[in-house]
């Protein structure tokens, strides 16, 4: 089973797309989410995100991600709920009121964040980090040093998560009980960040040395063995995503807010 942000091999059209186009399309979808506050439009984008996830058998990862982002955006949703006094009043507040418009604003915040995050994360699951770095280097001419730094950072996320779970398992074996509320878990996990930090620094240092002794400093944009040509599929994806951004702008201009 794939870990968080770890490449999952496959033959879906998302897998076959040019890495640069994948990132560009994910960004365009995210931009479209911020171009409009129309909840129905955002809902459509969210459904489209899940359809994309289903096309590359990543529904489980997408659902997990959606849940995680929804939880993280609760605070923002709460702020929107309490500071957007629009629509028919539901509850009176000392500084205004909480109305149907407030509820829609809160839901919009959550849906928008989930809808814009899923494509970005899907890119990580359907693209090898080395392809991402090489393609950006060859096509966009991003210096390899920066492309490699980014992809290495992503590459190490599952490694560090694995380390953290190993440290937690070792602590559990010594009687520490991680079951219980989130606050208790956080309180117990904070001291474990020190050994994690130490092992992370050590691993990062080893990785840097290992890369250097394999000629990292000689790398240029022309060094990549693989080619990343653009295909019709990529052109179609770009057109579709640009159309989505245009639609979001049109919706925001023409469709009046619900409340």
């Amino acid at each position: 089973m794939a870990k968080f942000l770890e490449y999952v091999p496959g033959e879906s059209f998302l897998h076959r797309m040019n890495p640069v186009v994948k990132v560009l399309c994910a960004l365009l979808i995210s931009i479209s989410c911020f171009c409009t506050g129309n909840l129905i439009f955002l809902g459509v984008v969210l459904v489209m995100d899940f359809a994309l996830a289903a096309s590359c058998t990543m529904m489980r990862q997408a659902a997990g991600l959606a849940r995680a982002i929804a939880i993280f955006s609760i605070l923002l949703a709460l702020i929107a709920l309490l500071t957007t006094p629009t629509g028919p009043q539901l509850v009176a507040l000392p500084w205004g009121y909480l109305g149907w418009g407030s509820v829609v604003a809160a839901i919009t915040v959550v849906v928008r964040l989930v809808a814009c995050a899923i494509p970005l994360f899907l890119v990580m699951y359907v693209t090898q980090m080395s392809d991402l770095a090489n393609a950006f280097c060859k096509i966009v001419h991003v210096p390899y040093k920066y492309a490699f730094t980014f992809t290495s950072a992503v590459h190490f996320i599952p490694v560090f998560m694995n380390d953290m779970s190993g440290i937690m398992e070792a602590q559990t074996a010594r009687g520490v009980e991680f079951d219980g509320g989130a606050l208790k878990r956080i309180r117990l996990m904070v001291p474990l960040c020190v050994p994690l930090l130490i092992s992370s620094v050590r691993k990062t240092n080893s990785a840097a040395i290992a890369a250097e002794v394999r000629g990292f400093n000689l790398r240029t944009c022309e060094s990549g063995f693989k080619e990343y040509p653009f295909a019709r599929l990529d052109a179609g994806a770009i057109v579709a995503c640009v159309a989505l951004v245009a639609a979001s702008i049109v919706v925001s201009m023409l469709v009046p807010p619900l409340f």
Partner: protein, 279 residues
């Protein structure tokens, strides 16, 4: 091919020397085994040989380390890496790609190997390590032994003059360890490559190495043919290096004047010696 002359090194953050007065010469095509107790300075010795010291770890550097015609202090780490291919102890942190093929390609791309030659080197390296069938597998799905072979393949694809391996069988069972060493020997023989292996399993080293180096508290205690080094089994045990029981048994017979031949390395040789003594 590789020569350390009066070499001493003290890490910047340490107040004692990690290595002291090291004199070691490794001829071309030689298979050298380095062992010693934990903390004796074996890994530091490999860092000195592949230029990581002084280029990545600062400290007080005395003497000289010459690789081919390069002085590791003057030459850049990249230039040294063209001659010395290194596989470090922590295999997981060495992996940069998610697919086996990409992992092997990484070094080839960096060193600018010609495109028409890349495929040949890639295939050869995977076949030499017996992992051609793993080419499209994700690194994460591999066992410890398979990852080890991928790490070796990614280095031998660069066709270095010297292969420097720090505990390449640390996470492997005896059968897999033997397989890795056999692959290494075969590869080194075919490509005239010098192999330097740091390893705790002295019996394995003794079977494959032409030269055995024992490090004790930052100094070279023994340096010679495996049979000559293993003849000092009691001293080796004193410094924390386990020797095969068959070797200790035959060395006991030697001490008692019952046998005058050289030290043995495995049970079969010990049985032959015992039969000779009893005859």
């Amino acid at each position: 091919m590789l020569c350390l002359k009066d070499f001493s090194f003290k890490y910047a953050e340490s107040d004692r020397f990690a290595l002291r007065d090291i004199n070691l010469a490794v001829p071309d095509g030689c298979f050298v085994g380095i062992t010693g107790a934990a903390g004796s300075g074996k890994s530091t010795l490999t860092y000195a040989m592949n230029g990581i010291i002084p280029h990545c770890y600062p400290g007080d550097f005395f003497g000289s380390v010459i690789v081919g015609s390069l002085d590791t202090v003057d030459a850049s780490l990249t230039d040294i890496s063209r001659l010395v291919g290194s596989v470090c102890q922590d295999i997981d942190s060495q992996m940069v790609a998610s697919i086996v093929e990409d992992e092997v390609l990484y070094g080839l791309e960096n060193f600018g190997v010609r495109t028409d030659e890349v495929e040949v080197r890639l295939t050869d390296a995977l076949e030499a390590m017996g992992i051609a069938d793993l080419r499209t597998r994700t690194i994460d799905s591999l066992s410890g032994g398979q990852k080890q072979k991928v790490a070796l393949a990614s280095i031998i694809a660069l066709r270095p003059k010297v292969l420097l391996l720090d505990e390449p069988t640390a996470e492997l069972d005896p059968a897999s360890s033997l397989a890795v060493f056999e692959l290494l020997r075969e590869y080194a023989h075919h490509h005239q490559t010098t192999v330097i292996v740091v390893e705790q399993k002295i019996a394995l080293l003794a079977d494959f190495a032409d030269k055995l180096v024992i490090v004790e508290k930052g100094r070279i205690r023994f340096d010679g043919a495996p049979a000559d080094v293993l003849a000092h089994s009691e001293e080796l045990l004193e410094i924390g290096v386990n020797v095969p029981r068959a070797t200790s048994l035959v060395n006991g017979l030697r001490q008692r004047g019952l046998y005058r031949g050289s030290a043995v390395r495995d049970v079969d040789e010990a049985v032959a010696v015992c039969e000779e003594v009893l005859a």
